[in-house]
């Protein structure tokens, strides 16, 4: 099969399903087919030769729309490729479109997108999770095998869980953030969705590694992550923080997590108890640090250099105020204001400095736990996909969707969600493994073994054949 016909098929599926799922904000038919024709003319054997990839709309793609799901950047076109994008292209991949997301990646349901939410392909009356909802749906609905998302508190792993696919967040510094529109720089990561662990591992192999243009990218060798999938996982030690599996977890999710633990045991893994005493403070720490950094990062949207500008402003200052008021949606305004508040004169020590100290404790808990185990297992999300609109009026209920994922972002460790079960009403959910710094390969070996031995065995209602 030629690359052109393969990509034509992907584009047709994306276009056909988008009315129903709203997972793509733009579908790049022309450039994708042109690239496919080039690859057909000069066939190669690179890692991602001819592989179609969908990309979250907060990752810069040269000449393509990069809206961040916001009115303030609604027709912004990036001048340059993010490093992750240029590396994908160098590995032979083809970018087929940009995906829907919560505005500036702020949200857990995709409902804060200025362009309407993406829908969950298992039940289109439900959210796909967020903030990388569109990228999750593009993979879950079978349009592409892999996509890029971004994570600040769980924005890849949580929608992966709600959509029944694999979702991965790397160690902080593993993937360059150059060209990822900044939300909270000390927590942000580019993450990867895949139909399987192998899809994720191959994309990571292509895009990981030091980048001169991101001073936080670390100089750590990049292995071929797919090369050890299939290794025996017998003898690996998995820690379970029992104290976190109680309150607030859906009964079906809890029961299924217990069987996931038993399943890992049957693969030869050894299960031990671990304690993460400060994990319960993760959401509070996150909402101080993430909003503080966001209030600073989003100051750049002022209507001067790019994006939307409000009309009819009498002077410069009024133009700033009106542009930001009209350009940002409610969740973004709430977070900018919270961040402004926690950083404002007289409050810094009470909030920001305190949050940084608790963040240190969250990280220390993990460092201690990883002296006893190779990975830590929890649910990815406390429940399955909720109904559209169900949590829109209650920010805290929405924030708590990230309770199991947010600590990995605070500590900077890698994490992955792999499908582990279906609820009685046919909705998928995932089990999460987090590992020590730079232990991506071990996580992949574990989830590959799991998904091979215990596949989900079901497909969403809306699926491209």
């Amino acid at each position: 099969m030629s690359v052109v016909s393969k990509i034509e098929n992907v584009l047709t599926n994306a276009e056909r399903l988008n009315d129903e799922l709203n997972s793509f904000l733009s579908i790049e038919r022309e450039s994708a087919l042109a690239r496919a024709a080039e690859l057909d003319a000069e066939p190669g054997e690179r890692l991602l030769e001819g592989v179609a990839i969908a990309v979250k709309d907060n990752i810069c793609t040269k000449g393509m729309r990069t809206s961040c799901g916001s009115q303030i950047l609604h027709d912004y076109r990036a001048h340059y490729d993010a490093t992750a994008i240029s590396r994908l292209k160098d590995a032979g991949a083809i970018i087929v479109g940009k995906t829907n997301m919560d505005e500036f990646a702020m949200g857990s349901s995709n409902e804060s997108s200025a362009f309407g939410p993406a829908k969950n392909p298992w039940d289109i009356s439900r959210v796909p999770g967020g903030s990388s909802g569109g990228s999750a749906v593009a993979v879950a609905s079978g349009v592409v095998r892999a996509s890029l998302g971004s994570e600040t508190g769980g924005s890849v792993r949580q929608p992966a869980s709600l959509c029944g696919i694999v979702g991965f967040k790397p160690t902080y510094g593993r993937i360059s953030r150059f060209g990822l529109v900044a939300f909270a720089s000390s927590l942000d990561n580019i993450g990867i969705f895949g139909q399987t662990t192998k899809d994720v591992a191959d994309v990571l192999t292509a895009i990981a590694g030091r980048d001169e243009r991101d001073s936080t990218s670390a100089n750590v060798p990049v292995p071929h992550y797919g090369s050890t999938l299939g290794n025996d996982v017998a003898g690996k030690v998995i820690g379970v923080p029992r104290a976190l599996l109680g309150e607030g977890v859906d009964e079906e999710v809890r029961a299924s997590i217990e069987s996931a633990i038993a399943n890992f045991e049957s693969l030869g893994a050894k299960i031990v108890d671990v304690e993460l005493p400060h994990a319960k403070y993760g959401i509070a720490v996150y909402y101080i640090i993430a909003t503080a950094e966001a209030s600073s990062n989003l100051a750049r949207f002022d209507g001067v250099r790019y994006g939307f500008r409000a009309e009819e402003a009498a002077g410069l200052r009024e133009m700033y105020f009106k542009t930001r008021e009209q350009g940002f949606g409610p969740e973004v305004k709430r977070r900018i204001m919270l961040g402004t508040y926690v950083l404002s004169s007289g409050y810094y020590d009470a909030y920001y400095s305190k949050a940084q100290r608790v963040r240190a404790l969250v990280k220390r808990d993990y460092t201690e736990a990883f002296t006893k185990c190779d990975a830590i297992l929890t649910p990815t999300s406390p429940d399955t996909a909720f109904k559209l609109g169900e949590r829109s009026d209650d920010p805290i209920a929405m924030y708590l969707s990230d309770i199991y994922t947010v600590s990995a972002n605070l500590a900077g460790i890698p994490g992955i969600s792999v499908p582990c079960g279906l609820s009685g009403d046919g909705l998928p959910f995932g089990v999460q493994l987090v590992g020590n710094f730079w232990s991506e390969q071990t996580l992949f070996e574990l989830t590959h073994a799991y998904e091979t031995a215990f596949p989900l065995g079901a497909k969403p209602a809306v699926f491209a054949e």
Binding site: E212, M337, T340, R357, K363
Partner: protein, 93 residues
């Protein structure tokens, strides 16, 4: 929290109905994050940024040589208003 005042600091011209919407929501969020007050943590070193030890050890200084960037024209393409190679804004004074 005086939401109107905070909005002003954040350069947001929020409406009265937004003040009404955000005030109780922000109060709830602040109450939630204040659970950190139950911890005695003054002797803990704050974690600044997100770097791993390997990230901290990475040399981030490059050779001091000039390299290409956007042209003036490219830099202005996305600007809402530009004139003669400059960004144009409403009157300042």
């Amino acid at each position: 929290m005086d939401v109107k005042h905070v909005a002003k600091l954040a350069h947001l011209d929020i409406t009265d109905s937004e003040v009404e919407l955000y005030t109780p929501q922000m109060a709830n969020i602040v109450r939630y994050i204040e659970q950190l007050n139950e911890l005695e943590i003054d002797d803990i070193e704050p974690m600044l940024g997100g770097l791993t030890d390997e990230g901290k050890a990475t040399v981030t200084i490059r050779e001091d040589v000039a390299y290409g960037s956007f042209t003036q024209e490219e830099a202005l393409i996305e600007a809402p208003a530009g004139v003669e190679g400059h960004f144009q804004v409403p009157k300042v004074l």
